[in-house]
Amino acid sequence: MKIAIVGFGVVGQALVRLLNERSGELYRQHGFAPRIVAVMDTRGAALSAQGLEIAALLHAKASDGTVAALADCGVAGVDSEQVIAECGARVLIEATPSSLRDPQPAIRHLKAAFRAGLHVVSVNKVPLAVALPGLRELANYNRVMFRFSGTVGAGLPVLALAQQCALGDEILSVRAVLNGTTNYILWRMHEAGLDFAAALAEAVRLGYAETDPSADIDGVDTAMKTVIFANVVLDRAATLADVQVAGIRDLPRERIAAAAAGQRVKLLAEFGEALRVGPEEVEAHGPLDVPANINAVSLSLRHGGEVTLRGPGAGGVETATGVLRDLLDIWHALGSAP
C-alpha cells in the first residue's frame, strides 16, 4: 500500500522507523507492505513512486533538517496539496504540527486528500477540533476512510474502547485525564510539594512539556481531545466553542493542599450535559489518580459499570503505534470491501 506523509517531525519519523523495524512481522501477519511514496515537511518533499528508502530519509532529515535534501528524490518548496493529489498514494498521514492559531494548512491537506480519493490517518488534533463534522462529511462523500485514533490517548485505543463500550450499552458519563504534561505537573506539586513554576520547569527539563507549554497548561489540548471524543463516541456535533475550558496555569499550591483528604487535583475532562475541562478533585488511588504523565479514561456505563483505561497518552513511538493501528484498520477494511 502506497503511503504519503505530510509533516515529518517526531511522530512522522517514529512511524517510518516503526514500519521499517516491523516490516517482516507486518508482512507475515497482515500481508501489509507499506511503500512510502511521498514525505513532505515545511521546506519541501521527497518523492518516489517505487518507495523511499527509510534510512536515507531519516538521514536527510537529521543532517539537513529537511527531506528535500534527499538525493535524487528531494524537491524543495513544493505545493503540498498538489503532491497529495498527484503522488499516487492510497493513504495520507497528516502529522504536521499545526497550531490552533492557524488550522488552515492541515485542513487543506485533509480536504485535498479526500478530494483525490485518499484515505486519511490524522495525528493532528487541530483540524479535527475545528472542523470534524464537516471533514467527516467530506470523507463519507468521497467514500474514503478517515481515522485519527492517535489524536486521543496516543497509543491507547481510547476511542475504539469507548465505541465498543457504547455498543449495546449506554455511556452515562465520562471523566478523563487526557494530558500527560499537566498530569505530571499536578502530580509533582502534590508528591514533592513543588509550586507550579518549579513543577513546570521540571517537566520541560525532562521533555514532558514543550518549551511553549500553553496549549497543555491552559487546557486547550485536553479540550481538543474532548471535542474529538464527543463527536466520535457520543455523536455530538461539538466544536471547541462548546467546551468550557479552565487550565492549570499558575495554579496555587494551596489549591492542591486544599483538596480534601483522600482527594487529588487533576486536569479533568468531563462529559455530562455540558463538556467541561478544568482542575477537579478525584478520589486518591481511584481509577483516575494516575502518576507522572499517564492518561486515564473512565467510562460510566449503564449496565457495564465503571470501565477505565490507563496508560501513556503521549510520545512519538506511542503515537506512531496509534497511526499503525489506523493503517492496519484501513488495510483490513480495504481487503474485506466487496
Partner: protein
C-alpha cells in the same frame, strides 16, 4: 442582530428596484446584513435558452439573447457605476457560449456554468449599489455534490466554511453580496441547486454564520390562510412553524421550497417572508415554535394532477403489490404526490402530476396489468387535491369529521383521502370543478378569516 436578506428576481428587475432593495438593506443600519441575490427577473430563463440555442447552433437566437443580456445588465450597472465590474463577466459569458457553439454540445456542467452568470452579474450590480463586495456561493464556502443542475450541498462542511469565510468579513463591517442558487463542487466546478436554490443559499448562510433571522424578500406578503383568488377574505399568517411551511410548500402555496427550509429548520434559524413592494408588512415568520392553539391554519389546492387507480382482485392479500406499483413509477421518474389504499387492498390510488401521466400509465400497464398483478389502470384526469394544514391538528380528535362534514354539506364527492401519520395535513381528491367550493367551505368551517 445578524440578518441574511435574500432578494428574488422580481425584486431585481431593473436599476430602480435594485435601488429599493439596497435601501431595505441600508435601512437595517443597526444590524449586520448579508445579502443573497437571485438573477435579475427573467434572466435565468434567457440563459437556459441561450445555452440550448448555442448547442443547437441557432446563431441568430444566440446573438439576440446575448444582446439582450448585455443590454439589461449594462443598463442596470450604469446606474451604480458598475460597468467595469459587469464587463469582464459578460465577456466571459460570450466566450463560454462561443465554446458551447463550437462543440455543439451542452453538458449539465456547461449548462450550470452558463446559468451561473445570472447571479454573478446581479451580485456585482447589487454590490455596487451597496458599495460592498460580491462573492459566489462557492467563494462563500458552499460545497455541493457533483449533480449538476440539481446539486445537493455537503451541509456540515458548507456551514463550517461559510462561518469561516463570512464571519470575519461581517465583523469587518463590509457589505457582502452572495450569489444565490449557484455553488461549486469540491473541485471548484460550478453547480446549481435547482428550484428554490436562492432561498437555499440564504438559509445555508443563515445557519452557517449563524444569523438571527433570514429574510426572504419577494413579491408576496407571506403565507396566506388560502389563495385570495379563491377565498377573498383569506388572511396573512403572521407566524407558522417550519413543518407547516414545508407542508404548504409541497401543496404549491407561494411558500419557500421545502428543501430551502431544511437548513433553517435543522439549525433553528427563524425565517421571515417579506414583500419588497410592501416593506411595512411584517410578513410571515417561520420558526420551530409550538403550534399556537389553532388547529387548521391554511387550506390549499393543488392543480394539474391526475388520480391513478391500480385495481384488481388479484391484488388482495398479495404481499409486495404496493412495492411493485411504486417501483414501476419510480423507475420512470414519476413523483407520487398522494397515496391512498384501503384495507381490502383491491385498489391503490395515487395522485401524480398530469405531465407525468403518459410514462406512468405505460409503466403500470406493462409491469402490472400485463403480468396479471393488477386487472386495470383507471385514470381520473379532471381532479384537484385539497389539503388542510396545521401543526395543531395533531392529537385533536374530530378534525377529519369537520373537514369531511363541511365538504359533504356542499355535496362534493371525495374520491380519495390521505393523512400523514404526523397529522399535519389531511388531503383529499375532488373533481376539479368542485375544488374552489371545497376550499371556501373549509376556510369558513375553521374560521380562518379571523
Amino acid at each position: 442582530m445578524t440578518i441574511v436578506m435574500k432578494f428574488g428576481g422580481s425584486s431585481l428587475a431593473d436599476a430602480d428596484t435594485i435601488r429599493r432593495c439596497a435601501a431595505l438593506v441600508r435601512g437595517q443600519s443597526s444590524d449586520r446584513v448579508i445579502t443573497v441575490v437571485s438573477a435579475m427577473a427573467g434572466v435565468t430563463d434567457m440563459l437556459i435558452e441561450l445555452a440550448q440555442a448555442a448547442a443547437d447552433g441557432t446563431r441568430m437566437r444566440v446573438h439576440t439573447l446575448l444582446g439582450k443580456l448585455h443590454e439589461r445588465h449594462e443598463l442596470a450597472a450604469r446606474a451604480f457605476g458598475a460597468n467595469e465590474a459587469v464587463a469582464p463577466l459578460l465577456s466571459q459569458l460570450d466566450t463560454l457560449v462561443a465554446g458551447i457553439g463550437a462543440v455543439s454540445e451542452l453538458t449539465p456542467r456547461s449548462h450550470d456554468a452558463v446559468v451561473s452568470f445570472g447571479e454573478r452579474l446581479s451580485a456585482v450590480i447589487v454590490a455596487a449599489a451597496l458599495e460592498g463586495h460580491a462573492m459566489t456561493g462557492h467563494e462563500a464556502g458552499i460545497v455541493t455534490d457533483d449533480r449538476h443542475t440539481q446539486a445537493i450541498p455537503l451541509m456540515k462542511l458548507s456551514l463550517h466554511q461559510i462561518r469561516e469565510t463570512l464571519q470575519p468579513r461581517l465583523e469587518h463591517g463590509e457589505p457582502i453580496v452572495v450569489t444565490g442558487f449557484i455553488a461549486g463542487t469540491q473541485h471548484g466546478a460550478i453547480t446549481t441547486f435547482g428550484r428554490g436554490g436562492s432561498d437555499l443559499t440564504a438559509t445555508l448562510v443563515g445557519a452557517g454564520l449563524p444569523a438571527d433571522e433570514v429574510w426572504i424578500w419577494s413579491d408576496v406578503d407571506g403565507l396566506m390562510s388560502a389563495d385570495p383568488r379563491i377565498v377573498p377574505e383569506a388572511r396573512l399568517l403572521g407566524h407558522v412553524t417550519f413543518a407547516e411551511a414545508i407542508e404548504m410548500g409541497q401543496f404549491g402555496a407561494k411558500s419557500m421550497h421545502p428543501r430551502a427550509l431544511e437548513p433553517a429548520a435543522e439549525y433553528r434559524v427563524p425565517v421571515r417572508m417579506r414583500n419588497t413592494f410592501h416593506p411595512d408588512c411584517a410578513g410571515t415568520l417561520i420558526t420551530d415554535g409550538q403550534p399556537n392553539g389553532e388547529t387548521v391554519r391554511s387550506v390549499l389546492r393543488l392543480r394539474g394532477s391526475v388520480l391513478v387507480t391500480i385495481a384488481g382482485a388479484a391484488m388482495v392479500g398479495q404481499p409486495g403489490t404496493a412495492a411493485r406499483v411504486f417501483q414501476a413509477l419510480a423507475d420512470v421518474g414519476v413523483n407520487v404526490q398522494v397515496i391512498s389504499q384501503t384495507v381490502s387492498e383491491a385498489g391503490i390510488s395515487v395522485v401524480i402530476p398530469a405531465s407525468q401521466l403518459d410514462p406512468a400509465r405505460v409503466a403500470l400497464e406493462n409491469r402490472l396489468v400485463r403480468t396479471g398483478v393488477a386487472r386495470k389502470v383507471e385514470i381520473e384526469s379532471d381532479i384537484d387535491v385539497v389539503a388542510v394544514v396545521g401543526a395543531g391538528m395533531a392529537g385533536v380528535p374530530g378534525i377529519a369529521a369537520r373537514v369531511f362534514g363541511a365538504v359533504a354539506r356542499r355535496n362534493i364527492n371525495v374520491m380519495a383521502i390521505a393523512q400523514g401519520s404526523s397529522e399535519l395535513t389531511i388531503c383529499f381528491v375532488v373533481k376539479a370543478d368542485a375544488s374552489a367550493t371545497a376550499v371556501q367551505a373549509l376556510h369558513a368551517e375553521f374560521g380562518l378569516a379571523g
